[in-house]
Subunit: 225 residues, 2 copies
DNA sequence: GCATACACGTGACAC
DNA sequence: TGTGTCACGTGTATG
C-alpha cells in the first residue's frame, strides 16, 4: 500500500491528513541533519515544559492548596490570591495608620443596610500631634449621631493619623440624612485639623484640666467600646 | 512505496516511528466514529488551552508588566509578586494592629548599630482592654532605658493591641546589656498582661484619679514624641 | 541559518 | 463508558 493510497483512506479527516503530510514530507527530506535538529527541538521543548511546570508546582505550594489542582483552576486561584493580597496590602499601607506629611480628612461609606438605612463609615484624620487632639476627636464623635465601632491611632515623627470605623444610628431612614451625616463627620474632623494649624500654641494652664477630663473619657470608651 | 518500507527509511528516529505507527494504526481502524471522537478530542483540548491562556493573559495584566513576557518568566514574576505581597500583607496584619484572642508579648530586634551598640526594637502587647492600661504602658516605658520612636494602638471587640518602636540609649555598649534590655522590656510588658488577667475587677473610685493623671502624661508624650 | 516561544493534534491515563 | 487533563513531538512564526 503506497503512502498516497494510504492517505486516500483517511480522506476528509484533516487532522490525519496533516499528520500524514508531515510524515510524507519527512520521508522525502529526511537526512541525518534534520533528524538531529528535530531531536534537539523536541528536547528544547521538553526543557521549556519542565521550566513552566516547575513554576506551576511552586505556585501550587504558594497558594497553599495542598490538594491536586487543575492547571487552569490553579491559575484562577493564583489570580484571586494576587487580587486579594493586593487589596489587603494597599488597605493596610494606604488606608491604615501611616501618617503622611499632608493634613487630610477622609470619610468613606463602606456598607449600607437597605432595611433600616444605617451606614457603616470609615473615616480618617491626619494632622500634627497636639495634647488635646484626643479630646477634640472624642468631642467630635459626640457631636454626630454615630456609634464608634473601632478606632486606631498611629504616630510618626510628630504626625498623627487616626482611623475610625463608625455606624450611623438606625433611625436615619432618609438618604438625605445619610449624606448629611457623612458631611457632618467630615466637617467635624476638618474643624479639628483646622484648629491644629490655627492654634499652634495653646495655654497649657487652661487646657490641661479640660484635657485630663476628656482624655479619661476617650480612654475608657474608646478602649472599651 | 509501502507504509512499512517508508517506516524503514526513518529508521532510528523514534519520534517519527511513533508518528507513523499512529498513522498506520489510524488507517487500519479508521471509522467515522473514531474520526468524530478525535475531532471532539482535539476541540476539547483546544478549549482547555484557551482557558489556561486566558488566565495567563489576566495574570499578565495583573502583574502590570505591560510588555510581552515569556510564559515561564511571567509565572516566575507572579511567584515573586505573591511572595512579596504575602510578606507585606502579613507584616501589615500580623505584626500590626489586629488584636488577637490570646494574650501575647513580643520583643524583636530590628536593627543593631555596630558602632555604638544601640538597638532598634519592635515590641507588641495584646491583652484585654482596661482604663489604666495606657498609664501602665507609659510607666513600663519609663522603667527601661529606651526611647519611644513610634507607638500604635488598636482595639477590637474589647481587645487591645499595641505596637512600639523602641531605640536603646546609645550608652549600652555591651551585648550583655542589650539582651538585658530586651529581656527587661519583655518582662515589663508581661507584667502588664499578667496584671490585666489577675485583676479583672478594680475599684473605680481609687483608680480614676491616678488614671487621669497618667493618661494625660501618656497623651502628651506619646502623641508628641 | 539558528534560537526561542507558542499552538496544535494526539496517545495515555484517570475517574 | 465518555470526559477531562496531561505530556509529548511537531509545525511554525519571530528575532
Amino acid at each position: 500500500m503506497s503512502v498516497k493510497q494510504s492517505l486516500k483512506l483517511v480522506g476528509e479527516k484533516e487532522g490525519l491528513v496533516k499528520a500524514s503530510r508531515r510524515v510524507a514530507k519527512k520521508i522525502m527530506v529526511s537526512t541525518a541533519k534534520t533528524a538531529a535538529a528535530l531531536k534537539s527541538h523536541s528536547e528544547t521543548e521538553r526543557r521549556r515544559r519542565e521550566r513552566i511546570n516547575a513554576h506551576f508546582a511552586t505556585l501550587r505550594g504558594l497558594v497553599l492548596s495542598n490538594e491536586k489542582m487543575d492547571k487552569a483552576t490553579l491559575l484562577a486561584e493564583v489570580i484571586n490570591k494576587v487580587k486579594q493580597l493586593k487589596e489587603t496590602a494597599t488597605q493596610a499601607t494606604e488606608n491604615l495608620l501611616v501618617p503622611t506629611d499632608t493634613d487630610e480628612v477622609e470619610v468613606e461609606k463602606l456598607e449600607e443596610n437597605e432595611e433600616d438605612g444605617s451606614l457603616l463609615l470609615r473615616c480618617s484624620i491626619c494632622c500634627d500631634c497636639r495634647p488635646d487632639l484626643l479630646s477634640d476627636l472624642r468631642q467630635a464623635m459626640k457631636d454626630v449621631p454615630v456609634q464608634l465601632l473601632k478606632c486606631e491611632i498611629s504616630t510618626l515623627g510628630g504626625r498623627v493619623k487616626s482611623v475610625f470605623l463608625l455606624a450611623t444610628s438606625e433611625q436615619g431612614n432618609k438618604k438625605n440624612s445619610d449624606e448629611h451625616i457623612e458631611g457632618s463627620v467630615h466637617t467635624a474632623l476638618s474643624n479639628i485639623v483646622d484648629k491644629v494649624s490655627a492654634s499652634a500654641e495653646f495655654d497649657e494652664e487652661l487646657i490641661f484640666p479640660r484635657k485630663r477630663q476628656r482624655v479619661s473619657n476617650l480612654d475608657s470608651s474608646c478602649l472599651s467600646p
